[in-house]
């Protein structure tokens, strides 16, 4: 009976985790859309909605700690609960980066972009899809899915390197773009960090499934 209530609490936590992951993914997409569309209202919404992410993190964290205290899970169950605790921390940090990007939108509200943003949205699309794939890997307890997701980080890193070079060249050729280009460089860096956090999620899923900790961020 005890174990049954433990299982059902774990199932509910899985649902909460998926909801939190979906919200974080949405926050990243909306933040970048606010930037490309110069949508100040949307950017402000992203900043406001960060409170929802924080509340979800605290709620899931509280429920995990209660489970640890009352059920004292061991072995695979212990790895599941600790994985959830680690995953929500990474998700919360990703959401903070979405806020960082939204704030760039607000800062650059008066600036006209010197060229259309192409690589940054592409990079954001990749990174936010990593979040969803990581959570799928968690739900499916799938080592393969985690490893496949982590490989996408290389594509993100390539895009980041390209954006870095492009913006540097732009600043050299047109010094008047330095303010704008510097902000965009930060945005690219935030997105790159999101992908690194997604890689962390994958590492925790690998730990949960195999019991082994691996560092795949490089």
């Amino acid at each position: 009976m005890l174990r049954q209530s433990f299982r059902s609490e774990l199932d509910q936590l899985d649902q909460e985790l998926i909801r939190m992951g979906a919200l974080v993914e949405e926050q990243i997409r909306r933040a970048v859309r606010s930037l490309t569309g110069r949508d100040v209202v949307l950017a402000e919404q992203v900043v406001l909605d960060d409170d929802r992410v924080d509340a979800m993190e605290m709620d899931i964290e509280r429920r995990c700690l209660t489970l640890l205290a009352l059920q004292q899970p061991l072995a695979g169950d212990l790895r599941i609960v600790s994985t959830i605790l680690k995953i929500i921390t990474d998700l919360e940090r990703m959401a903070d980066h979405a806020v960082d990007i939204a704030k760039v939108t607000l800062r650059l509200r008066e600036e006209l972009f010197v060229k259309p943003l192409i690589d940054i949205p592409e990079m954001a699309r990749l990174s936010s899809s990593m979040v969803r794939l990581a959570l799928n890997a968690y739900i499916h307890r799938s080592l393969d899915e985690a490893l496949t997701m982590i490989r996408l980080d290389d594509d993100v890193d390539h895009l980041y390197a390209r954006i870095f070079d492009d913006l540097q060249n732009l600043m050299r050729e047109r010094p008047e773009t330095v303010l704008q280009a510097t902000h965009l460089l930060f945005v690219a860096n935030y997105i790159e960090r999101v992908a690194d956090h997604a890689t962390n999620l994958g590492e925790w899923v690998i730990y949960m499934v195999t019991g082994e900790r691996k560092d795949l961020n490089d």
Partner: protein
């Protein structure tokens, strides 16, 4: 047995009670001075395993065993094993505190007296040092002549440990030593076991998985007379190798 806490080596140990197989082909090694926890469902053979180590199992009817158990270099299953010497070297503590109906002092002095120690000075010093090792001295130093029954359950259990330590064993077998105790007494016994670690080889049967996790270096999981898995405790409780162990630890065991 020399003064170092003895290593334990078990090879192909099988134990039968009549037709019933209690242990089947168990092999394991334990380094001296470590704490080994034996876990598993009721009837899995863990208590039989414990009782082989001081040959208490010999008292059971129709018991037969095969294989080899080497404790501190001595083959304890050999027919000519000196059981009195073995049981002096391998002390045992049971689930229910089993204080004798004597005074606190006489409980602890019981074994040394049986060994022929008569000097009251020697006996006093053995009683004091044993009670200190059992973390009971401070609570009973002024009450040594009182009946053991006047102590609390947790104190009586530590008295039993002091009594076992008084004959200078090298190994302590503990059969669910805190099953009858309240949480505070349990904590004291667990701390006591940890403090004895290193000087003694300790083997503990427990149904309390958290207790095994807290105080043992190595955990062995038994099921239906088989040793399913033995591993360093921190590995066993975070990432066991066998699916059966996983099921037992996560309560999905059928």
């Amino acid at each position: 047995m020399d003064s170092k806490a003895p290593d334990l080596a078990v090879r192909h140990l099988s134990v039968r009670y009549g037709e019933q197989v209690a242990l089947s082909d168990v092999s394991l090694d334990l380094e001296g001075g470590q704490v080994l926890a034996l876990i598993g469902p009721s009837g899995c053979g863990k208590s039989t395993f414990l009782r082989v180590l001081n040959r208490l199992v010999d008292r059971s009817l129709e018991v037969r065993y095969e294989g080899e158990v080497v404790l501190g270099g001595i083959r304890i299953l050999d027919p000519d094993t000196d059981l009195v010497a073995l049981r002096r070297a391998v002390g045992m503590v049971f689930q229910q505190p089993s204080a004798f109906p004597f005074s606190v002092f006489d409980n602890v002095a019981y074994g040394p007296r049986l060994q022929g120690i008569r000097s009251s000075h020697r006996l006093r010093s053995i009683v004091e040092s044993s009670l200190k090792k059992a973390a009971l001295w401070d609570e009973v130093r002024g009450k040594l002549r009182r009946p053991a029954a006047s102590l609390s359950g947790g104190q009586q259990q530590r008295l039993c440990i002091a009594r076992a330590l008084a004959v200078a064993p090298r190994v302590l077998l503990l059969d669910e030593p805190t099953a009858a105790l309240d949480p505070l007494s349990t904590t004291k016994i667990e701390e006591l076991i940890l403090s004895l670690r290193g000087d003694y080889t300790l083997i503990l049967v427990t149904h309390n998985l958290q207790q095994a996790a807290r105080i043992s270096d190595v955990t062995a999981f038994f099921r239906q007379g088989l040793l399913v898995e033995i591993a360093p405790t921190r590995e066993m409780f975070t990432a066991p190798k066998c699916a059966e162990t996983e099921e037992f630890l996560t309560g999905r065991y059928e």
